[in-house]
């Protein structure tokens, strides 16, 4: 009975849907997190009667065919890269991007990763690092005793050094943007890697060429909307239950058939 297997594809798809939704909800408070959604497509159809085939020698044709579908498959879990809301934090080293672009982060294996999470720290040598201790690229080093750190909308980092009245420019935060940012590969730790689908990064300063602007003392919240996620969860759960009912119904029919033999 094909219905059993068709319903099984439906149950598998909804299970994956719940996984994606639960990951979104789990990361509701993750800085710079971008939600995913599961997308589905119908599987192949078996043509028992092909539409348009001849029904007589006079050239009459079947106006409608008999096609039986084989279920559903997950086509992908694209990431929705929409802007998250901004939360003021009162920390000097928190930076949010409003608009396109990602921070560049140098990973220990010398690859460059990209991130929307701007909750930066300073390491023991005064360098600007992510919470994991990865260097921000290009590197920015704060001298000892630097105070009043300011990061402007164009990404210029300046601080007040001892015995000086005007602040000194210490470096420039650069951003990278991608043609298809949904094609980036997430590797956890709020980091993304470039892929063949995302296209190569284009580096540039914030506020130039369509790059986003930087906002100091703000953090970009996850773009997860609780209401959407919960209603998606309800739909997924109900769809799962209904697919399970189809399995029961098919089983019921098979049982009837088996009982016919005495």
């Amino acid at each position: 009975m094909r219905a059993l297997y068709t319903a099984a594809t439906g149950m598998a798809a909804q299970e994956l849907n719940v996984q994606v939704i639960s990951n979104n909800i789990a990361n509701m408070r993750t800085t710079g997190f971008k939600r995913q959604r599961a997308e589905f497509q119908d599987l192949m159809y078996q043509n028992l009667r092909r539409v348009g085939s001849n029904t007589s020698a006079q050239g009459t044709k079947l106006p409608i065919g008999l096609d039986i579908g084989a279920g559903v498959k997950t086509s992908g879990t694209p990431r929705i890269m929409a802007q998250g809301s901004l939360l003021p934090t009162d920390r000097e080293l928190d930076v949010a991007i409003r608009g396109e672009g990602f921070f560049r982060v140098l990973m220990p294996d010398n690859r460059t990763a990209y991130s929307r999470a701007g909750s930066f720290e300073m390491d023991d040598q005064g360098r600007l690092v992510t919470p994991e201790g990865y260097l921000v690229d290009p590197a920015i080093t704060f001298p000892q005793n630097a105070s009043n750190i300011s990061i402007n909308q164009q990404g210029e980092v300046s601080a007040l050094l001892p015995n000086q009245t005007a602040s000194t420019v210490l470096g420039q935060i650069q951003l990278a943007r991608f043609v298809n940012k949904s094609g980036l590969e997430a590797i956890g730790d709020n980091l993304f890697l470039e892929t063949a689908a995302s296209g190569p990064p284009q580096n540039g300063n914030p506020s130039v060429d369509g790059m986003g602007t930087l906002l100091q003392s703000q953090l970009e919240q996850a773009n997860v909307n609780a209401v959407t996620e919960i209603s998606d969860l309800i739909t997924a759960q109900r769809a799962y239950a209904m697919n399970a009912k189809v399995v029961t119904a098919a089983d019921d029919m098979l049982q009837q058939t088996a009982n016919m033999m005495r």
Binding site: T6, L66, P78, A82
Partner: protein, 253 residues
């Protein structure tokens, strides 16, 4: 075998197929742009038996046959996604997609950009615009899709025109063939330009138009009918075994 058994069998085979269709509808309850299907049955009459010695004319035995699956092309509900490249089609139009196998049509408007900046489906097939493929520039931001399918984007400080979606409709959508992957092909039918009523909604996708309540109802109907037939076929067998026993019971004289 008895006709009753064979007639019952024809109905059971048809019912199994109907459950297959319902299972496919329910499996695709969350598939964007999916259109539900139902099965159409028809009566199939056997050739008349020739027996003139009965006072009443012989009736022809009627079997059931599943004839066709009819797709319900009604509008599915629109769900907001927040992704600027998602479009929902309101009306009877289809998007045109270039696949390796040729031109295909879809109602699934969950689109994205590929590494070359082209507008593609989730399978990576290019979406056709009114004048060739739709191509974005590297610096495009804030993409806006108008109701009529015109696409524009902010490039630097200027608004750049990025073409227009090609929307088509079919005189007889029932003759479209489902190919899976939310795609339709149109054998022996030429697409026509969509009517002015067809509009696009940006940031939304059209969900599956399968109605869970109706499908559950149909499923119950199928299982009940199947059980009733199984019962009927059991009775036929009982009838026959009783007949054999009674008729063969020659009383000893």
């Amino acid at each position: 075998m008895d006709n009753a058994l064979l007639v019952g069998l024809s109905r059971q085979v048809a019912l199994q197929r109907e459950l297959d269709v319902i299972a496919n509808n329910i499996a695709n309850i969350n598939t964007n742009g999916f259109k539900g299907e139902s099965v159409q049955f028809e009566e199939f009459l056997s050739s008349p038996a020739r027996a003139d010695s009965f006072p009443l004319a012989d009736r022809r035995v009627s079997f059931v046959q599943d004839r066709a699956t009819i797709a319900d092309f009604s509008q599915g509900p629109l769900a907001q996604t927040g992704s600027p490249l998602d479009v929902a089609i309101s009306g009877d139009g289809f998007l045109v997609v270039d696949t390796p196998a040729g031109e295909r049509y879809t109602r699934n408007g969950a689109l994205s950009r590929n590494a070359n900046g082209e507008l593609v489906t989730s399978e990576g097939y290019r979406v056709r615009g009114a004048q060739g493929p739709i191509q974005f520039d590297q610096n495009d931001a804030d993409i806006l899709i108008a109701r009529d399918g015109a696409i524009s984007a902010m490039n630097g400080n200027q608004i750049a025109d990025r073409g227009k979606f090609l929307l088509v409709r079919f005189a007889d959508p029932q003759r479209l063939t489902k190919e899976g992957l939310s795609l339709y092909s149109a054998p022996g039918q030429q697409p026509q330009a969509a009517t002015a009523d067809t509009s696009l909604q940006q940031g939304m996708v059209e969900k599956s138009n399968v109605q869970p309540v109706a499908e559950m109802g149909r499923m119950i109907e199928v299982t009940r009918a199947y059980a009733a037939l199984a019962n009927l076929m059991n009775r036929t067998q009982d009838l026959r075994s009783t007949a054999i026993n009674k008729l063969a019971d020659v009383p000893a004289s």
